[in-house]
């Protein structure tokens, strides 16, 4: 009664050897061809693939530093959120009118729920003995459809997202406290300038005004006539006030 390197037992109460699963390697003789032992032959090949993969992975890590945006600010409501890329297809699905509003349940639960349940139960939905993709057209077809849908939705979400603006809105900014008691600051507040340009003029959905290189006249012009996505006519005050805020903005150093 010797197994392995041979063991002797005192007061033997263990399960007799016959009842234990014999330690015979799995037999692959039904698949004729070259089989090889897991260790060391096959493991070496696996690890070589692993090593090459690791080199590629580390190159990616070194080249692309992980992003970190500015610290979360619950009061900043102008931020447009974006999930991680592998949730984009779900995020995009919820944008469609048939999957949002009154049909939110459809987009948020029924469609993804059905898809994931089908994935989970695939072996019970596709029960035939055939394994080749072409021999089971329904399984293959639905999966291809799902993959196309995921790729399409992800593409739509990523393609219509303004990545430049997203990068800007999340950037870590140097915030310099401005004098909030200044009368010009009150005028800015009253004309809703701060909701886009930030409470310290550090920028938000609009560009930062602190440390701007524009001249006083240019600032006055933009405040009245707008620029880019800023519509004209936002500033409603008098010319005197306009001069006041332009000088105030100009006076703020970065």
């Amino acid at each position: 009664m010797k197994r392995g390197k041979g063991m002797k037992f005192v007061g033997d109460s263990r399960v007799p050897i016959n009842n234990r699963k014999p330690n015979i390697p799995k037999d692959y003789s039904e698949y004729p061809g070259k089989t090889e032992a897991f260790y060391p032959d096959f493991l070496l090949k696996e690890w070589m693939v692993g090593a090459v993969f690791l080199i590629g992975f580390l190159c990616l890590v070194v080249v692309e530093p992980p992003p970190l945006e500015r610290i979360a600010d619950p009061t900043d409501t102008s931020y447009i959120p974006m999930p991680d890329w592998y949730f984009l297809f779900l995020y995009q699905l919820l944008k469609y009118s048939f999957a949002s509003g009154p049909y939110n349940i459809l987009g948020a639960f029924i469609i993804p729920g059905l898809a994931f349940t089908a994935l989970l139960l695939a072996p019970f939905l596709d029960r035939g003995p055939k394994r080749r993709p072409l021999d089971r057209p329904f399984a293959t077809g639905f999966m291809l459809l799902a993959i196309c849908a995921i790729f399409y939705l992800t593409w739509e979400a990523a393609g219509h997202h303004d990545w430049e603006a997203a990068k800007k809105q999340g950037m870590i900014r140097e915030v310099v406290e401005v004098d909030k008691e200044d009368p010009a600051y009150k005028i800015l507040e009253a004309n809703t300038c701060l909701s886009c340009h930030g409470g310290n003029l550090e920028g938000g959905s609009g560009p930062p005004l602190a440390g701007t290189k524009l001249s006083v006249d240019e600032i006055k012009d933009i405040a009245k006539n707008g620029k880019g996505s800023m519509p004209p006519g936002i500033f409603q005050g008098t010319d005197e006030e306009l001069q006041q805020i332009a000088e105030f903005i100009k006076s703020i150093e970065k």
Partner: protein, 169 residues
């Protein structure tokens, strides 16, 4: 074939160890380097902190001096108060002793115990030190009290952030 020094199996084993070793080192090395970073940091605390004590006011008698500085602890910055027992010795040299007992880190006090006048006394385990910080043999401490480095500028006493051990005392 049986006389070859390295068998095929051995060769494969060595290669596996090599490849596995590479994977382990390449993936874990950055993590270990990050973990040991604090050990490899060079202490930057070379600067001296101004106290409120004028050097002229110091006497032969140890007085308690508190001084504050801003301490950076990773991502956390705080104000820390350090304490020193400062006096001038017979030669006029300034001595600034740390109040941290060299036994288990309690705080010692000067002249606080009636049985041991003119000695530093630690209430935790009755540790005793002479005035110059030397531990009294037969009491728990394992060495003399640490000393702060000092500097005098415009008559004001400056002390180092941390006290350092007295060597060979």
């Amino acid at each position: 074939m049986s006389e070859q020094r390295v068998t095929r199996r051995q060769f494969l084993s060595y290669t596996i160890m090599g490849v596995g070793g590479f994977m382990a080192v390449a993936s874990v090395m950055p993590m270990l380097r990050m973990a040991v970073d604090p050990v490899l940091q060079v202490e930057a605390g070379g600067d001296f902190i101004a106290t409120t004590v004028k050097v002229d006011e110091l006497t032969n008698e140890p007085t308690r001096v508190d001084f504050q500085f801003e301490q950076e602890d990773g991502w956390y910055t705080s104000n820390v108060t350090q304490t020193a027992w400062v006096y001038k010795d017979d030669k006029g040299e300034i001595i600034a002793l740390s109040p941290v007992c060299k036994h288990l880190g309690c705080t010692v006090n000067w002249n606080s115990n009636k049985d041991h006048p003119n000695q530093f006394f630690c209430p935790c385990h009755k540790g005793l030190y002479e005035k110059d910080g030397t531990n009294v043999p037969g009491t728990p401490p394992r060495g003399p009290l640490d000393r702060y480095k000092y500097k005098v500028k415009d008559g004001v006493l400056y002390l180092s952030r941390r006290a350092s051990a007295v060597r060979g005392a």
